[in-house]
Amino acid sequence: MQPKHLDTRVVAARRRAVIVAATMLTSIVAFPTLGSTQNAGKPIVIARDMDLNSLDPSRAFCDTCQIYLSSVYDRLVDLSPDNKSIVPMLAKEWTANSDATVLTFKLDPKATFSDGSQVEAKDVKWTFERLKNIKGGMAYLLDNVKSIETPDKETVVIALTAPNSEFVGSLTAPYAGIINSDAVAEHGGEAGPEASSKDNAEQWLLANSAGAGPYVLESYSPNHELRLKRNDNYWGKKPSVEEFVFLQTKDAVSQTQLLENGSADIAMQVDPTTAKAINNENVIVETAPSFNMVYVAVSPGAKNLPHPLDAKIREAIASAIDYDGIIDLTVDGKGKRLPAPIPNGFPGGGIGEPIKHDVEKAKGLMKEAGAADGFTLAATYPNVNQYGVDYTLMMQKIQQDLAEINIKLELQPVEFSVWREKVNGDGIPLTAVFFAPDYYGSSQYAQYFAMMDGTVWYKRAGGKNDPSLANPETPKLLAAALAAQGEKSGELFGKLAGVLANDRIILPIVSPDAVFVSRKGISGLRFSACCNMVLSDIQAK
């Protein structure tokens, strides 16, 4: 009995040994395989200070929104990598009538949403009507749309109230991404005239996406992370990277540290000064010209001004600022000056010389305006570091520059939301902020900055309190520029740029270069005039 018992134990022990050995062998064989699979599917982590205000294409407006929306919601047309040409996307072709007031788009029959359903004309109509009727920040894109017709499921006919040579280009904006109308309507989406009060789909769109883009929303955790995964049903060329994770990372230093310790693959908002300090052979820093703009704005109609900010005073302020000094201080010289608040390379942009730093001229103008002794101006500004520019640093330099002509600036850095409330309320005598284009075209600058009724900065500069700010020639010039084509249009936009510059309400300080910091093996990073950064172009080794 005993030997048999012993024998049984030995057999059992052998069995256990075989099982253990087999398990170990399996582990040894399996782990490298598992490891390599995980490595291949490892998400690309982008360290970024996310400014997301919504994930709903009809409500969102921010730089991160541009990246997210352009990755998840394909538009009718796209902007090619040359940042000028318009290329087909959901619309395989389009035509315009002789005066460019009626545009006909033919949809690509292959185009499908991420749920597999076909992109139809009704989706385009529903999307554009929703964008217009919700009246979000980007509704201005469709301001001059008179009607949208859908004669068949692959044809969209858009009629405009006036000729607009930039309309098709404006549809490259990420906010014009086409939404799956059936999916969103099922979750409270509304596109009718009362959409601003009846639409309840924003919450659903924070957890789901309904586009026809190369990526879909996997999850979103505010102030933490945004995850996008590849759309396996994508109708176009499948992107290389399977998954992107945007990791909320407040400042450039933290972003750089995450990159250096391998926790992130791309850092998006590293300023040139910090980038210069990176001394790691596995981290690559590249810069490229951008169309972003950092500017100072003077508001002659702001309440409680100590002295009228008339044309001479504004000219004096513009002449007293040491632009090159600011570019050197804030972005280490990695940026360009702009002659007008339209980027160099855009229609009408880059024409003429930027205003010169001339303190003596500025002093003379102050004297002529009866303000040689100077005055004090409140300068509230958003306490941000945008496009590599530390606003507190920039404003301290401007404070020193204006002190030369006896204008004392009282700097008040505030949160962006506070700034927005203040600038849209009583106005701010002198402030600084930034602008990034939504598409290749100069009309967006006129519609935002021009001193004419209806623009954002006409209101902020106090146009209602001081109607003399309005220039009656500006709307006519804009209409003529939009009605013209090609070189003629560029020429008229050039004149418009001159008007915007001479108002001295918007003083462009710098167009900072885009800085891309990434780990070795990441390629395809580029600045896009419509979409900030195009995720589907990125490749990882």
């Binding site: 230093v253 201080l329 640093l393 301290q396 700097l411 008040q412």
Partner: protein, 280 residues
């Protein structure tokens, strides 16, 4: 037996120059002298650009230059004005207000005591830094508002201390005698009770200077205190955090806060040892 009586029972406290007290006085004295005289001997203007930005420490600029090209050493020395002034104002105002509330609560008792002490309890129930941030944020940024925010957080400590002392002193025979002799409430409080109740408050106040310097700098660090371009230590450290690789920007103000805080704590410790014999 109260602390005060204990001290009194042994006669007038003997102030000996212990090494800790000397060190504290030297440090705090240094900063006070700097704050008062720097205009006379400074080499650079704390607000002006004097060199290339982000220059590391050198013979010309002992603590280097900041992101704008200002001399960090000069700005650090000027920063003493803000920190010393704000700590003085906060501690004096907090002691005055807190002691008044505590004395009234202890002296009058009854519902006055209940109402005032519940107010103290409510204020103390909030985390001090959070409460100071909330008050500063609601008043708006600025040094004046920072001082108000810190006072709003600090006074209840002194109210509690003073109330306890007044309750202790009020039951003594000589107070009863004075009351029987027809002394008014005002006279009783000011001539008989308060002079015997101050010691713990003074010790606590001296110990608190360093804490106040830290709290005020913290508020400036998060942007609720001094506004640019003021060379306030908290906001200078905040600048240094934004330019992490230029360590010298935050080094000067960091050492300054450490030394001033330490100096006040040394003095407070030494005073407590001298004035409170129970700790000896």
């Amino acid at each position: 037996m109260s602390m005060v009586l204990g001290a009194k029972a042994q006669g007038k406290p003997k102030i000996t120059l212990r090494p800790v007290l000397i060190a504290g006085l030297l440090i705090v004295g240094f900063w006070i002298v700097v704050a008062l005289t720097i205009d006379v001997w400074t080499v650079y203007d704390p607000l002006k650009l004097v060199a290339r930005k982000l220059q590391p420490p050198s013979f010309e600029h002992w603590l280097g230059t900041d992101a704008l090209g200002r001399d960090v050493m000069t700005r650090t020395l000027y920063g003493a004005r803000y920190s010393i002034a704000i700590s003085m104002i906060v501690v004096v105002c907090s002691v005055a207000f807190g002691s008044l509330v505590g004395a009234m609560a202890g002296f009058f008792g009854g519902w006055t005591d209940s109402v005032l002490m519940r107010l103290v309890d409510i204020t103390l129930s909030f985390p001090p830094v959070l409460l100071a941030m909330a008050v500063a944020a609601s008043l708006g940024p600025g040094l004046q508002n920072t001082a108000i925010a810190v006072i709003a957080v600090w006074w209840p400590v002194y109210a509690r201390l003073m109330r306890g002392q007044v309750l202790d002193v009020i039951s003594r025979d000589h107070i009863e005698a004075a009351r029987a002799g027809g002394a008014s409430s005002y006279r009783l409080l000011t001539k008989h009770i308060l002079p015997l109740s101050w010691t713990p408050t003074i010790i606590s106040a001296t110990m608190d200077f360093g804490q106040v310097v830290l709290l005020a700098a913290s508020l400036s660090f998060i942007g609720l205190g001094a506004q640019p371009p003021s060379p306030e230590w908290g906001s200078m450290i905040s600048d240094g955090a934004a330019h992490f690789y230029s360590w010298w920007i935050a080094f000067g103000p960091g050492v300054a806060i450490l030394s001033l805080g330490l100096g006040f704590n040394f003095i407070g410790d030494a005073l407590r040892d001298i004035l409170d014999p129970r700790e000896l």
